[in-house]
């Protein structure tokens, strides 16, 4: 990269050639700094606009009845109960599948795996999976869980949806687990080994408890991302109009993002009084409250963790 204007002709550093031009350079500096501040706040301002707009739109519909009602063809009578319950089911099931798998895989790769070609292949594969679009996971779920494993999942069921989401978050959980484990100093492991503990004993008694808050934070953030996902669930076949609550793993299901999408995509022509739009906004508020709750738990854990180690 060229060092450009400020330092002039090096071959003849005579006074006449050395044009410092400080005022104009400082002027450019100021412009650059202001531009960078503006850029930083653009995102935040848009976030604020988004939240205010949504909350204002949701006010006409937000009520206790909205949470406890089933969907309806009449916008004013519709509610999100099956979607909310479906989302909570997905939340629990996805966590149950993805957390043990991801943490186990992370522990293996960080603490056990030899540094060979195979391990590196797994690592590259995981970072690659983290960048695969979520809708591709939907196609995977559709083919593998809905069709090939039909007898187990019962087709387009809540189990198929949860397994798809679990695969989606798995790479992120593995990566955060490894990062948390890596932050634990090696001296702790050596102390354990010196006392005669096996590797698993050291991990279970010393390393894992220290890494757990970090792992939990990452996992909660990953799963809250998954809970907001719409595309993979549509492809796996979440239903859009459901008037019952899920009773078992093979139940049909819907979820909050699906319900919101359904309300948003009502044709404007057939929906002149905008009531479905208000429903969508109210649904978004409910979804955001769920996600915000999860995020606060994650932030709480992170702060507690950081204080404990300082």
């Amino acid at each position: 990269m060229s060092t450009s204007r400020p330092i002039a002709d090096l071959d003849s550093p005579s006074e006449s050639n050395f044009n410092v031009a400080l005022p104009s350079r400082h002027g450019l500096d100021k412009i650059f700094e202001v531009a960078s501040w503006v850029a930083t706040f653009v995102g935040l301002i848009v976030l604020a606009a988004l939240l205010i707009d949504t909350v204002v739109d949701s006010l006409p519909r937000l009520s206790w009845g909205f949470i406890t009602n089933f969907p309806s063809t009449r916008a004013v009578a519709a509610g999100v109960l099956p979607a909310l319950v479906g989302t909570l089911w997905l939340l629990v099931l996805t966590t149950l599948v993805a957390f043990p798998l991801g943490v186990g895989a992370g522990i293996y790769l960080e603490e056990y795996a030899p540094d060979n070609l195979f391990t590196r292949a797994i690592e590259i594969n995981i970072s690659n999976l983290a960048a695969v679009p979520s809708i591709i996971y939907g196609l995977l779920g559709l083919q593998v869980f809905v069709r090939w494993l039909l007898p187990v999942t019962g087709g387009r069921s809540i189990l198929a949806g949860a397994l798809t989401l679990a695969l989606l978050v798995l790479p992120i959980i593995i990566i955060t687990t490894r990062e948390s484990l890596r932050a634990i100093p090696g001296s702790l492991r050596q102390a354990g080994f010196a006392l005669g503990a096996t590797r698993w004993q050291v991990i279970r008694e010393h390393i894992f408890p220290l890494a757990l808050p970090g792992i939990l934070t990452g996992t909660i953030l990953a799963i809250s991302r998954a809970i907001g996902e719409t595309a993979p669930l549509i492809v796996v076949g979440a239903a859009t109009f459901i008037t019952f609550l899920p009773t078992n793993l093979q139940s049909k299901f819907t979820a909050l993002p699906i319900q919101i999408f359904n309300w948003v995509s009502r044709p404007v022509v057939a929906n002149p009084d905008k009531n479905f739009q208000f429903n969508a906004a109210a649904g978004i508020v409910v979804l955001m409250v769920v996600l915000l709750g999860m995020n606060s738990i994650a932030i709480f854990l992170r702060n507690k963790f950081q204080k404990g180690r300082a």
């Binding site: 930083t40 988004l50 186990g104 690659n128 679009p133 809708i135």
Partner: protein
């Protein structure tokens, strides 16, 4: 916390009982189990490739590949179906282009600001705020694009109800935090000695940033850019909701069009019987999408390895 197995009772009769045999079994069992868990990630990749390939081959046995690559219309459900993937790629290209034009410069500037200009306290507040922005579900951004941004655009531009511009702009905002956060990590990691060296040579702060700090952080910044582009290509809900469902070969940002992802959603919403040609098209489209993002990933991987600067 229990002091398990290896170590003894208090009364001293039984001070040393390592139970090595049992421990070795536990050790092997745990290691094997966790290795199996790690293999799930390989199985996921294999599953993705297998399920996409399986249906894509079935698709190409009915529709020759030259029609897929050569035709200029996308109408699989019509009586006289056409399968020109270029139409959907064009839609994806246009919305992603708009999104990256918004997200890359703003994201990079924000990253520079957070790392170089903002006081440390402020950085610690703004960075999590940007990450919240990254965590907002995309369906919410879709709502925002269709019902907030499009009406605003309509007041001064000849846009249709569904249009690429609104979807692209909002998608840019959606991937902006990703660019800002990852680039900031890379810029923040550049050692201070490099900055001090530049100052000592008489460079101003901007000159230091532009000609010393940014080139040093190049690999990390490029990785964040490529990841953002691949996010934009794979983004689904914003374009489905706000860009429309009309496959159309156009680069007009005011027009209603359809992206690859939006097509997959459109077909998935209906009750398409498994094994039918239309069902297979979504896997062929998915395969195209997968190959594109994979190529970007590989490129990013190569680029980072090639240009990474190591500092002690």
């Amino acid at each position: 916390m229990s002091t398990n197995l290896g170590i003894s009772d208090r009364d001293g009769t039984n001070l040393w009982q390592p139970k090595r045999g049992l421990n070795e079994w536990v050790e092997k069992g745990v290691k094997g189990l966790f290795a199996l868990f790690a293999l799930v990630s390989i199985a996921t990749t294999v599953g993705i490739v297998l399920s996409l390939t399986y249906e894509t081959i079935a698709f190409f046995s009915k529709v020759p590949i030259w029609r897929f690559l050569g035709e200029t219309q996308w109408s699989p459900t019509f009586n006289n179906p056409q399968f020109g993937i270029i139409v959907l790629i064009c839609g994806t290209f246009l919305t992603s282009l708009i999104a990256t034009v918004v997200a890359l410069p703003i994201g990079l500037l924000a990253a520079i600001c957070l790392s170089e200009y903002a006081p440390e306290k402020m950085r610690r507040v703004i960075k999590p705020a940007l990450e919240i922005l990254a965590g907002v579900p995309t369906v919410v951004y879709g709502y925002f694009a269709l019902l907030f941004v499009t009406p605003i655009l309509k007041t001064f531009l000849p846009v249709e109800i569904f249009n690429a511009l609104s979807a692209g702009l909002v998608m840019g905002i959606a991937i902006l935090p990703l660019v800002a956060s990852l680039s900031e990590d890379a810029i923040y990691a550049v050692p201070n000695s490099l900055r001090q060296g530049a100052y000592a040579l008489g460079a101003t702060k901007r000159e230091t940033i532009v000609s010393v700090v940014l080139p040093s952080a190049l690999s990390g910044i490029a990785a964040s850019f490529i990841l953002a582009i691949s996010r934009a290509i794979g983004e689904t809900m914003i374009v489905t909701i706000a860009a429309g469902q009309t496959p159309r070969l156009t680069l007009n940002p005011f027009a209603n069009l359809q992206t690859m992802t939006a097509y997959i959603v459109q077909v998935s919403k209906g009750d398409t019987p498994a094994g039918s040609l239309v069902y297979q098209t979504i896997f062929a489209v998915g395969m195209t999408l997968f190959v594109m993002t994979l190529a970007l990933n590989i490129f990013s991987f190569w680029f980072v390895r090639r240009f990474r600067q190591k500092y002690e």
